[in-house]
Amino acid sequence: MNLELSAEQLMLQDSAFKWASEQWGPIVEKCDEEDWMPPDLFKQAAAMGFLGVSVEERYGGSNAGLLAEGLVAEQLSRISPALTMSLIAHSNLCIGNIANNAGDELKDKYLPGLVSGQLIGALGLTEPGAGSDALYGMRTRARKDGGVYVLNGSKMFITNAPVCDLMLVYAKTDPEAGPRGISAFIVERNSPGFSVSRKIKKAGMRGSPTGEVVFEDCPVPEQNLVGQLNGGVAVVTRGLDVERLMVACMCLGAAHEALEHSIRYSLERKQFGKAIGEFQMIQAKLADMYSQLQAARALTYTVCRQAETAGRGGKGTALTRDAASAILVAAETATRITNHAVQIHGGYGYCLEYPVQRLWRDIKLMEIGAGTSEIRRMIIARELLRSGSCEG
């Protein structure tokens, strides 16, 4: 299928996949088994330009656009969705939101270090009691005290928290105002009162450290406010549109790889005297896997291109609806494809020596993180019913 990628985008795809195969291929099993992240992960990715794909040149980025960023995410995710997720949490969730919302002073201070991999970033929105309902359920408070905001509360399931140098944190600055009382802050890891209370053990995405974070009277300089005071919702929702597209691209990569393994195995594995690829039930699976993958890919790339030119996303925009559609389709497609891949591999597929089970465990997260499949459907339906039409 011709997806109309430019010569540069095609070369970037090739280079990203080659890099991941050679650099990550030999260590992915260790990452999974030991929940281990290679210590030079971020610096190596920075050397390839992968931490600042769509960041402006003056901060060390390449300004190559969101689709290019997605293509990198897709190719890296073929080898390791886990390591890719840590890179995306850093480059898209943390860097992207700072680049799009912070003032020049903060950008000058933090972006060069983040884009070059000297600093590792994270984003803290979810809380133990506030996941899908993060905006209404948020309990973390930021109380103004002279020139600082004092943070109290905790954040749950934060990617990179155990290894980060700074975190973009959402907290209530006006508790009475609901979502309209949330602000975003850059909090440095070495601030007093900032601690990672535990590293969470997971079924998949092992190698991408996930932590729970506690703030106890943690002072944050008022200059570290990102965007408007009480304007955090705009930061969250616009950021989520692009985050969802990057996650959708990751899903494509894992699904693609699972399909490649399945095709090869169908040609090699013999039962009843023939290759299992000769059985119609296996053939039907392969045909479905391919078709659904390509449909998800066409949708995802189209919305990535749309996001490159769309002004703002967020509630009430076509981009919010379509980014939710792309991730809904891509994630459910990827869980289905990786599930079929395990099935096609039979008993071997369920064993740790074969990579399909890892892709299957890893990618299941993508129906949960960045808004669950249920929340994605709610968003799409909300936008359809709000506008009274599926056009536009």
Binding site: E8, L10, M11, D14, S15, M48, G49, V72
Partner: protein, 250 residues
């Protein structure tokens, strides 16, 4: 200092190769094309010389179909300064060498680095022929390169049977790169973005005034015979008998 390197367009070593229906070439549909891996090593070495020398220019040349632009862009993305594509069809090694000579005469580089061979036809001829036609010294299959401080010669280490041989060639010289010369860098995103703006000159082989009539005609191509499935034997005796009478290796 100017360094000229080659970048042949070849099928990805990972791709599955099938003989075409007329039996005289490979089936090209569905193949992924890459820079010949030995040429990638040559490009990397040229870039390392440039980085060490500071003021060097690296020119990457491909001779082949117009699609070889992609391979030149890869060379540019790795860091070469400009590219030359000579387009032509049905060129055998001797034609390629004669074309390369024309480009070398036009560019007057101090060093030409080629891969020791291309992984598609494995001829291992172009470097040697080119040096011969130019009347230049050549150092083939090198695994280490040191440029003399006065830039008048290059010390090249070659892997020979049972050891290493170090030779010195006066410049200009032609060098062919072996596997262990270096590990080529990846094309990074900033490199890819910069490559867009680098010059890529296109020349038609026919315009160079060389006779490119092939001296070699490929008459047929055949895949290696399929391996037969193994068989489990009951005893050592049976194994020995099978090795003697069937496999005929004992």
């Amino acid at each position: 200092m100017k360094i000229l390197v080659t970048a042949k367009r070849v099928p990805d070593p990972e791709s599955t190769i099938k003989v075409n229906s007329s039996g005289d070439g490979i089936e090209e549909a569905g193949i992924k094309w890459v820079v010949n891996p030995f040429d990638e090593i040559a490009i990397e070495e040229a870039l390392r010389v440039k980085e060490a020398q500071g003021d060097a220019e690296v020119v990457v040349v491909s001779i082949g179909p117009s699609e070889a632009q992609e391979q030149l862009r890869t060379g540019l993305a790795m860091g070469a300064d400009r590219a030359i594509l000579v387009t032509g069809e049905n060129l055998d090694t001797s034609a390629v060498a004669k074309i390369l000579v024309k480009i070398v005469e036009k560019e007057s580089p101090d060093i030409v680095i080629t891969g020791k061979q291309a992984i598609d036809d494995d001829s291992n001829e172009v470097g040697q022929m080119t040096a011969q036609l130019l009347g230049w010294p050549q150092a083939t299959f090198i695994s280490e390169l040191k440029i003399a401080d006065d830039k008048s010669s290059a010390e090249c280490t070659r892997e020979v049977d049972g050891g290493m041989e170090t030779i010195s060639v006066p410049l200009p010289a032609l060098i062919t790169a072996d596997l262990r010369l270096n590990e080529p860098r990846y094309a990074s995103l900033p490199g890819i973005m910069k490559a867009r703006k680098k010059p890529l000159e296109q020349i038609e082989a026919a315009s160079l005034g060389v006779d490119t009539t092939p001296k070699i005609v490929i008459k047929s191509m055949a895949p290696p015979p399929a391996r037969e499935a193994g068989r489990i034997v009951e005893s050592v005796d049976e194994l020995v008998t099978a090795l003697q009478s069937e496999a005929k290796v004992l």
